[in-house]
């Protein structure tokens, strides 16, 4: 079997085809969509969702769901933002600029751990637990911040720089791709994706997550510590949401108690499910999830470029998600040939 044949048999093939077709379609109307500058815009739209999607994917594979990630993002970003605002008055010196990164990850991990414990100890459905903690964590964000925004001036320049600077930038006067770069925040997101792949595909615990999701009843019989793995999965999801939180501060330069992370869970779950992760557990790959994130990034960047008015954008965005899911479902059941039947 040819390598191409193997690729098309993979479940990721459908979504890859969709990304290519969508970009070509938009590129025909607006040639500037197929430029490096536009690629940079699309990539800059995706890192937060990509980081969150890696955690959410593990949770879904384990046959749970985490609705609280947007609130965890907001809370952990707020904790770091408040540290940056108060450090000089409280300690008499400024903490190193990078302190917010481990701090937000740690705060996120703690909140995720709490989710996991509630799900595991009380045998409650994750959708209910995280629906509750979604409101709880959001409310706590208001309480600790006194409903005050952390303004741009408090976020360290280096943190903000992660979204605009890069390890390498093509010189501005270079004939092709002048000024093009891939900012740190995008590389961090892809780094998280690679680590997630290595963890899921090549470690024992990684494989156990799939085993639990495929058959929760059989998993303990095979000697898997279901409780430990479940709590771990929620903790990782929380930690990654925390990382996304400090990246939010980097990308947008502020932390707001009500806006920051609001609706994040919907974007992330949409991307993950489009990427072929089953909400029934046991199924999903990092590659598929990355492609799902990129497809949503392409759509988000294309709608304003096509001049589609804001009032219609939400509806079109939603329709694209549904169409992507339908095509993906057909391709998965019948291979790429299934597409022909959909079109007929």
């Amino acid at each position: 079997m040819s390598a191409l044949g193997t690729l098309f048999r993979r479940r990721e093939a459908g979504i890859l085809v969709m990304i290519v077709l969508f970009c070509l379609f938009v590129g025909l109307q607006k040639p500037q969509f197929l430029t490096l500058n536009q690629l940079r815009i699309i990539l800059l739209l995706t890192p937060l969702i990509m980081i969150g999607a890696m955690g959410q994917m593990m949770v879904l594979v384990a046959r749970h769901v985490d609705l609280s990630i947007g609130s965890i993002l907001g809370f952990s970003a707020m904790v770091s933002g408040m540290l940056y605002r108060f450090d000089e008055t409280a300690f008499g010196f400024n903490v190193p600029w990078w302190t917010g990164i481990p701090l937000s990850v740690l705060v996120g991990a703690i909140l995720g751990f709490a989710n996991g414990m509630l799900v595991q100890l009380f045998r409650l459905p994750a959708i209910i637990v995280t629906l509750g903690t979604m409101s709880l964590y959001r409310g706590l964000t208001f309480i600790i911040s006194d409903a005050k925004q952390i303004d741009r001036q408090w976020i360290p320049t280096e943190i903000k720089g992660l979204s605009s600077t890069s390890i390498f930038t093509v010189p501005k006067d270079f004939p092709i791709a002048g000024g093009f770069n891939i900012p740190w925040i995008v590389m961090i997101a892809f780094g998280v994706a690679i680590l997630t792949h290595l963890f899921l595909a090549h470690t024992r615990i990684g494989r156990q997550i799939y085993a639990i999701g495929s058959n929760p009843v059989a998993a303990p019989l095979r000697g898997i510590n279901v409780a430990r793995v479940t709590v771990l999965v929620f903790t990782i999801s929380g930690a990654l949401s925390g990382l996304a939180g400090i990246m939010y501060a980097s990308r947008w330069g502020f932390v707001n108690p009500s806006n920051t992370g609001f609706g994040f869970e919907f974007q992330v779950i949409a991307a993950v499910v489009i990427g072929g992760v089953s909400i029934n557990g046991g199924v999903g790959t990092v590659l598929g999830t990355v492609l799902g994130v990129l497809l949503l990034g392409c759509v988000a960047a294309a709608l304003p470029l096509l001049g589609i008015p804001g009032t219609s954008q939400a509806a079109i965005y939603g329709a694209v998600i549904l169409v992507a899911l339908l095509i993906d479902r057909t391709v998965r059941q019948q291979g790429i040939v299934g597409l022909k039947r959909v079109r007929a």
């Binding site: 500037q32 500058n37 009500s258 304003p304 470029l305 008015p309 804001g310």
Partner: protein
């Protein structure tokens, strides 16, 4: 002991006799913002709080989580139940709250629209406090934009939501100014887009403007979220010398962009003074020292003489304040 209660009783008697029941209870004022965590309202709230310290009133700020048309209704109902004397509100909708505001007024509560009005439904509130005469916002913004681009070239507008009433009034005035005033005949408005006051959406709309209109020289964003997002795009692309961003922004959010040269100048007013004026006005009306009549005037400390204009609208200042590198450090909101 006896003497004390006698004096207290006497005082109460006098108070009742003059019909001023407020003397027993401090005036309760509540301000209902558009949404929580909005730094703009922190500043208005500061004005209310400081005025209430002077006047001896009780002040509370509440707001729904999201700025939807109907999200303020339960808050108004709760405040009626609580028995406040004054409801000041930054309305999220010009008409969704007509009925509940009428309920409040029928119970003797003074209803003030502060920082926005019930356009077309002015009969459902007692008075309206706006920072400036909003008919001046559009022309002032166009003039500022013109001064930044030598009055020529393609410009675009990045607004809040498509239905935001204030922004739409200002945009209509901007278009009218551009069309009718020969001074601006070489400035061409090529697009008006909406970022829904979300940083993500405002950013993608701004990026699309730059991609679709390569000759763009200026963007007016008459909304605090939009102007900060537009400035960030320009800063990250390093194109501040070709594309000029201005609009209505908060000094606290725009300071960095002004200091690094991304933004030369932007405008706003003092939200603090809106709260300050609203508290003095409410106190005066309830105590009977201010008559809420069109054409009436009264004095407010630090603001001077305030005139109650057409449809009971009051302004705290005559023109917009322009912020640039020379004065931005004088403002702490």
């Amino acid at each position: 002991m006896l003497k004390k209660s006698l004096i207290a009783g006497l005082g109460l008697g006098i108070a009742l006799a003059t019909g001023a029941a407020y003397a027993a209870d401090p005036l309760k004022i509540v301000y209902i913002g558009k949404n929580t965590g909005n730094p703009y309202f922190d500043s208005i709230t500061g004005g209310f709080e400081d005025a209430c310290k002077e006047l001896g009133c009780e002040f509370e700020f509440v707001a729904p989580a999201t700025a939807e048309a109907t999200s303020q209704i339960p808050f108004i109902e709760a405040q009626i139940q609580r028995g406040v004397n004054v409801i000041a509100i930054a309305p999220n909708s010009p008409d969704a709250m007509n009925q509940v505001l009428d309920d409040a007024r029928s119970k003797g509560i003074l209803v003030l629209a502060v920082n926005g009005d019930l356009v077309g439904n002015e009969g459902h509130r007692d008075a309206n406090i706006l920072p400036v005469d909003f008919t001046k916002t559009g022309p002032n913004q166009v003039e500022l934009m013109g001064s930044l681009i030598d009055y020529k070239g393609e410009i675009a507008i990045l607004s809040a939501t498509t239905e935001a009433p204030d922004q739409n009034t200002w945009i209509a005035a901007m278009k009218k100014t551009l069309e009718e005033n020969p001074k601006y005949k070489d400035m061409k408005l090529v697009a008006t887009v909406y970022g829904d006051d979300q940083p993500e959406k405002s950013t993608t709309e701004m990026e699309a403007l730059l991609s679709n209109y390569p000759d763009l020289v200026g963007v007016i964003a008459p909304t605090t979220v939009g102007v900060a997002a537009a400035a960030q795009v320009v800063q990250q692309r390093g194109i501040a010398d070709t594309v000029h961003v201005t609009g209505l922004g908060l000094p606290s959010e725009m300071r960095d962009f002004v200091k690094d040269g991304t933004v030369t100048a932007f405008q706003l007013w003092s939200p603090y003074n809106e709260g300050w004026l609203a508290a003095y006005f409410a106190d005066g009306v309830i105590k009977g020292t201010i008559k809420n009549e069109v054409g009436g005037t009264f004095e407010v400390p630090n603001l001077g003489t305030i005139t109650i204009g057409d449809k009971n609208v009051m302004n705290t200042q005559a023109e917009l304040t322009t912020f640039d590198a020379s004065n931005i450090d004088d403002f702490n909101f």
